[in-house]
């Protein structure tokens, strides 16, 4: 367990190991095979940020470049899943869901139900999400709340390399459609990742920091911010549980409930816009299910109700900061 690799390498390794283990796993997307038909080097790109690099040569015929036709190839992945494959389709940036959402939410997500339980649609849709790259309004969104809303989908948001590998392997083996979201700012994050194959089960939150004063629930990249804040606050005498749900659908509400029943204080940290977000989802749930335990108002720390701005100074204001998380924790801690 001593080997350190990056989040990006962990994802590549998960794909590689599953493709090796199971010939029904295929990978498709724009440039994931490195750029089909081009005259230069083979496997030149490996997806836009190189995440799939090397798979093309190792798994001939099973890593497929596509035209820029997201409805076409995401839908093809869904259809292939109905016919015995386990496709992993890469939708580069989750922001592009708007050109192919139908194939995800009306087709893949609903087949099993509409067809009376007779369909099985084991498709994984991988995409980057999140702000911090100065990539502006159309390449920086979270949008996981939208997928979480849709019955029939599962939604996975790993916050570190270990989870990225284990959750991706689980996603591929899972028999339901999975939206697998990778925070672009985490690709270079290093962490301990076993070389062998393993799964992280869905619907099991990780408690990444423990304490009895305040519960912090955070998602994706925000888990790391929350953990840092909890570390700082520990020194100041404030003890936080930091819960990383890891999957938002299914969602491990039990772990959150158990923690809030102990702490009575909740902060939810979500990089999304605030309205109908995961922040409101968790807050609403707790306000219904753990009201008796609550000793302070729930605090939601989110991005604002604005598109993601381009300029660095604005984007840095946009993203929930450790300072804002700390402030929210102190606010609920000190509430009488």
């Amino acid at each position: 367990m001593a080997r350190k690799i990056t989040y990006q390498q962990a994802i590549n390794e998960a794909l590689d190991q599953e493709m090796t283990r199971d010939p029904s796993v295929i990978v498709m997307g724009e440039d994931v095979a490195g750029g089909a038909g081009a005259p230069g080097e083979e496997d030149s790109w490996g997806g836009v940020l190189g995440v799939t690099k090397g798979l093309f040569a190792k798994h001939p015929g099973r890593v497929l470049d596509t035209p820029i036709s997201e409805s076409g190839y995401v839908g093809a992945a869904v259809g292939a899943a109905c016919n015995g494959l386990r496709p992993v389709a890469e939708l580069m940036f989750i922001d592009f869901m708007g050109v192919c959402f139908d194939q995800i939410f009306n087709q893949a997500a609903k087949f099993r139900y509409m067809f009376g339980g007779k369909a099985k649609t084991p498709v994984v849709i991988r995409a980057m999400y999140g702000a911090g790259f100065r990539a502006a309004a159309q390449h920086s969104q979270c949008l996981y709340n939208i997928f979480t809303h849709i019955p029939g989908l599962k939604v996975v948001i790993p916050s570190n390399p270990y989870d990225a590998k284990g959750l991706l392997i689980q996603s591929i083996r899972d028999n339901d459609p999975v939206i697998f979201l990778e925070h672009k700012a985490l690709y270079t994050m290093e962490g301990d990742v076993p070389e062998e194959s393993y799964v992280v089960p869905f619907g099991e939150a990780a408690v990444v920091h423990e304490g009895d004063d305040v519960t912090i629930v955070a998602f994706g990249r925000m888990v790391n911010y929350a953990k840092d804040v909890a570390g700082t606050l520990r020194k100041k005498g404030v003890q936080c549980d930091v819960i990383d749900p890891r999957t938002t659908s299914p969602m491990d509400f039990d772990t959150i409930l158990e923690s809030v029943e102990r702490t009575g204080r909740l902060v939810v940290v979500d990089e999304s816009h605030p309205r109908c977000s995961m922040a409101s989802d968790v807050s609403g749930f707790i306000a219904q299910e753990a009201f008796g335990a609550l000793k302070a108002p729930i605090q939601m720390v989110t991005a604002p109700h604005s598109p993601v701005p381009f300029a660095a100074v604005l984007e840095d204001l946009y993203i929930p900061s450790p300072a804002r998380i700390e402030e929210a924790v102190m606010r609920v801690k000190e509430y009488k």
């Binding site: 036709s69 259809g79 109905c82 009306n106 067809f115 099985k120 028999n175 339901d176």
Partner: protein, 324 residues
């Protein structure tokens, strides 16, 4: 033109077309009484298309269908008794009463679903065909879509993708002249849907959808080519629907007498019967036997559907996920 069909094949073709027709005529009648819920789009008049095409398919070939899916389902081998129960919203239905007319599917016979989303099937069928190809089988996929759907981005993307990946797919543009109330003369900017094939480097073929034999032959060639690795084809079938866009449609947008004229002069069942009997390939007795048999089966399916149980409360939360 000589028919490559055996007597068995001819009987099967007629039985399928007759089953579709009677199924649809019966749903039309029962819908009018208010007993059938939801949106129902009938395929009557278009039987030669689904039948002529699906006769070339095996169980492991897939079709993707449309909101007007009953005919495709029956032609691909979905049990009409289960379909009738589904349309009536019964637990014994093909989809346990949870899908309804617009979502009948039976993956066991390669029927990937009617579809409530116009154009939804194009990408999906590329996927089943891709799976067949990767597995090294010679199975094909057939995507049915309408003239209206031919303007949907998903259909264009699917045609390009199928060509780029050289997939064994047959795209069947069923041009019945209307998308809801809107004419295909208005909505399709080129003369024929088949003209679009060249934009995707594939053959485009036009065929008379009232003529079972013409459809059967053209589809046979295209499907053979697909099975042999020759890639996709776009087949435009010119035909007409006999009923409204959906049940309840008054069809005032159509020319007076338009449908009656087609029924009288071009009906696919009539033409088929005339041809096979005049050639002595089948007898009137053969035809009438099938007519009787099908009528009895459809009648029985309705009796059963009416009597069948509705879904149970626990079905509401069943089969959303394989596991959750």
């Amino acid at each position: 033109m000589s028919s490559p069909l055996t007597r068995e094949g001819l009987l099967q073709a007629y039985r399928t077309m007759r089953t579709i027709r009677d199924f649809e005529e019966r749903v039309h009648v029962d819908f009018a009484t208010g007993e059938i819920p939801g949106f129902v789009h009938l395929y009557a008049g278009e039987e030669a298309s689904a039948t002529g095409i699906c006769m070339h398919l095996n169980r492991d070939d897939y079709i993707a269908s449309t909101h007007r899916g009953h005919g495709h389902c029956i032609a691909k081998g979905v049990d009409p008794v289960g379909m009738m129960a589904e349309i009536w919203g019964k637990r014994t239905g093909t989809c346990k009463g949870k899908g309804g007319s617009m979502h009948i599917a039976d993956l066991e016979v390669g029927m990937l679903g009617a579809n409530g989303i116009v154009g939804g099937g194009g990408p999906l069928i590329c996927g089943t065909a891709l799976a067949s190809k990767i597995r090294g089988s010679n199975n094909v996929g057939v995507c049915f879509f309408g003239d209206g759907a031919s303007n949907q981005g998903t259909i264009f993307e699917a045609m390009n993708l199928a060509a780029v990946w050289k997939l064994p797919v047959l795209f069947v543009g069923e041009n019945n002249g209307y998308a809801e109330a809107t004419s295909s003369n208005f909505s399709v900017a080129c003369e024929n849907i088949a003209d679009r094939a060249s934009a995707f480097g594939m053959p485009g073929v036009i065929v008379d959808g009232f003529d079972f034999f013409a459809v059967h032959e053209a589809a046979g060639e295209a499907i053979k080519r697909a099975r042999e690795g020759g890639g996709p084809t776009l087949l435009e079938v010119k035909l007409s629907r006999y009923y409204g866009h959906f049940e309840g449609d008054q069809q005032t947008y159509r020319a007076p007498g338009e449908v009656q004229h087609l029924r009288d002069t071009k009906d696919c069942l009539m033409q088929f019967a005339k041809r096979v009997t005049s050639r002595g390939e089948l007898t009137m007795a053969d035809i009438e036997a099938i007519d009787r048999e099908v009528k009895a089966m459809i009648d029985a399916s309705v009796v059963k559907a009416k009597a069948d149980p509705v879904p149970l409360p626990e079905d509401l939360m069943a089969d959303i996920y394989v596991s959750y």
